[in-house]
């Protein structure tokens, strides 16, 4: 039997997430740690970091240690019209960390739903994302954005690609002051500038933000996106996580790959997002697939930073014996203590760094 106290946060999460995803019909997806490098070269921008650990296979083929799971899932999936493939995974991936600029191993769990995607699948992914966070901690927030609304707004603003990129960057940073300056420099009208700036300030529960969006989404594409968001909101409202889901348009995933609903999860006590996902039909298209996809990943290694009470002692009992002590006495004493539920370390000398609650000396119990 597994002692739950011994499990780390991330280990507990793996078990509970696995059973959650299975409950909703997601099948386990196991893959090799290696993938052909070519797959990543073709979709470099989709990756969080473009630096990949590569090596040559015995036949000379260039392989990579997986920096991502989604691309491999799509690659191996079938593209049959009307069908849906639902998979979950728990894999280690290898990326360059943004803060240390060195390669790190990231433990990731997640799911992908690929195929003939509809609103229910998007809702299911969002709902499972909220449930995943709830399984890890009580205090969490799941933020949702709709890239359709953002791209309609950028379309309306016009301008060059670099201008739109700069605007998207400001929205991601909630940076209203630089956004206003950039709009002015690019000759955007005061009215349109005010509209984009008001978009940055939108944050809060889905219902109240959707009301404010009514004035912002005026184009046909914008209205269509808003209507999808409204339908999703109505579905989320029926779940127990309605008060944990917020709208925040600062989630600006790469619009060359993602479209529609995107989301990010935060847990109180962890300084960055622990869950990220969304709809990525455009990536599917780039990979020659006709169908759509939605999915998310939970970054389990971040759970390590969640506060757990570290024990004051390494062991309950430090049992000291010497060459003259009867071995049977040592074995009996260890058995007696462990059966009483205590942890015990049998040693001949007191280890320098070992922190023990109690010291029992049986040196005199000679052979």
């Amino acid at each position: 039997m597994i002692d739950e106290k011994l499990l780390k946060n991330e280990e507990k999460a793996i078990f509970s997430l696995r059973s959650l995803y299975k409950k909703y019909g997601y099948m386990p997806f196991k893959m090799s740690k290696f993938e052909e490098y070519d797959l990543y070269v073709r979709n470099k921008d989709f990756l969080v970091s473009d630096r990949i650990i590569t090596f040559n296979d015995t036949n000379g083929k260039l392989l990579a240690l997986k920096p991502d799971v989604t691309l491999s899932v799509i690659k191996s999936g079938v593209d049959a019209p009307g069908c849906k493939q639902k998979v979950y995974y728990n894999e280690n991936i290898y990326r360059v960390s943004g803060s240390t600029h060195q390669y790190t191993e990231i433990m990731q769990a997640g799911l992908e739903c690929i195929g003939d995607i509809d609103l229910y699948d998007v809702f299911e992914a969002v709902h499972l994302a909220a449930q995943s966070l709830a399984m890890i901690a009580d205090e969490f927030v799941l933020e949702i954005s709709h890239l359709g609304i953002l791209s309609a707004l950028l379309e309306e603003a016009g301008g060059s690609d670099s201008f739109r990129k700069a605007v998207a960057q400001c929205i991601a940073e909630k940076n209203e002051h630089d956004l206003a300056r950039i709009c002015e420099e690019n000759g955007v009208s005061a009215e349109k500038t005010a509209k984009i700036c008001s978009f940055i300030g939108l944050y809060g529960d889905m219902k109240s933000v959707i009301e404010k969006l009514d004035k912002i989404c005026e184009t046909k594409c914008g209205r269509a996106a808003l209507s999808e968001l409204c339908e999703l909101q109505a579905l989320i409202e029926t779940t127990e996580y309605a008060d944990k889901v917020f709208l925040d348009f600062s989630i600006v995933n790469d619009m060359n790959y993602y479209n529609g609903i995107v989301f990010k999860g935060f847990i109180n006590g962890i300084y960055e997002g622990v869950l990220a996902g969304g709809r990525y039909d455009k990536l599917m298209e780039k990979m020659g697939r006709k169908s759509g996809a939605v999915g998310f990943a939970v970054y389990l290694d971040l759970l390590e930073t969640l506060g757990t009470e570290s024990s004051k002692y390494d062991v309950d009992v430090l049992l000291i014996y010497n060459e003259k002590t009867d071995v049977k006495v040592v074995a009996d004493k260890v058995r007696e203590l462990t059966e009483a539920g205590k942890s015990v370390s049998a040693q001949k000398t007191i280890p320098g760094k070992l922190r023990y609650r109690e010291l029992i000396n049986i040196e005199k119990e000679a052979r």
């Binding site: 803060s99 933020e143 909630k174 940076n175 002051h177 600062s250 935060f266 300084y271 960055e272």
Partner: protein, 208 residues
């Protein structure tokens, strides 16, 4: 309790005055001690002084919920944070400077000395100019004088130091000022507190 990282030095003093005027005072902060952390339980704020270039790290990693940092640091390190207000203080320009009569013939690699290697690299990449970056940690101005570099990329406030060393601003890369930044997770879990501080601080911003 809101944790606020302030940059040590003149800018930090100015910025603290803005927080004080906004109703988040912490009188002990003005006492000349070697203490680095100051708390006002009643106002629910805890200030700490850190090296200016480290403010964004404290905020990005969540040790501070909010902080004040120069835009130069944000451009250089691109931390994952929210940039919530331009405080319009600590104003200066990120510039390319060099000998007054310097002419870039474009025939060979341009030697650029700077503390801001990422900023310099990005700036010259826009025009496709091939450069050799020389990373220095201080007294950048002497690099072109001693022939270590052709030009420098550095912050210029009044231009006095440049003038004294017979250098001049050759190109302006961007305008810099102090920005109020927030940790992304703190923004969700301490949203009301952060939004209130931001709106009160915005009232203290003096527009030119």
């Amino acid at each position: 309790m809101l944790n606020i990282a302030l940059p040590k030095g003149r800018l930090g003093d100015k910025v603290y005055d803005m927080f004080e005027a906004a109703g988040y005072e912490c009188p002990q902060i003005k006492e000349k001690t070697r203490k680095l952390i100051f708390e006002n339980e009643e106002k629910q704020v805890r200030y700490f002084w850190v090296k200016p270039s480290d403010v964004s790290i404290y905020v990005e990693r969540g040790a501070a919920d909010i902080g004040v940092v120069g835009k130069d640091i944000l451009i250089e390190y691109e931390p994952e944070i929210y940039e919530l207000a331009d405080l319009n203080v600590g104003k200066c320009r990120m510039c390319v400077a060099g000998p007054k009569d310097f002419r870039d013939s474009g025939e060979k690699k341009l030697k650029v000395a700077t503390k801001f290697t990422n900023t310099a690299r990005q700036y010259y990449a826009q025009s496709g100019r091939d450069i050799d970056i020389i990373k220095l940690n201080g007294s950048i101005e002497i690099a072109p004088i001693l022939g270590l570099s052709d030009v420098i990329v550095d912050l210029v406030e009044t231009g006095t130091t440049l003038k004294k060393n017979d250098l001049a601003v050759l190109e302006v890369i961007s305008s810099i000022s102090a920005r109020l930044i927030a940790n992304k997770a703190s923004f969700k879990f301490k949203n009301k507190e952060i939004e209130t501080v931001v709106s009160r601080i915005k009232e203290q911003i003096k527009i030119d």
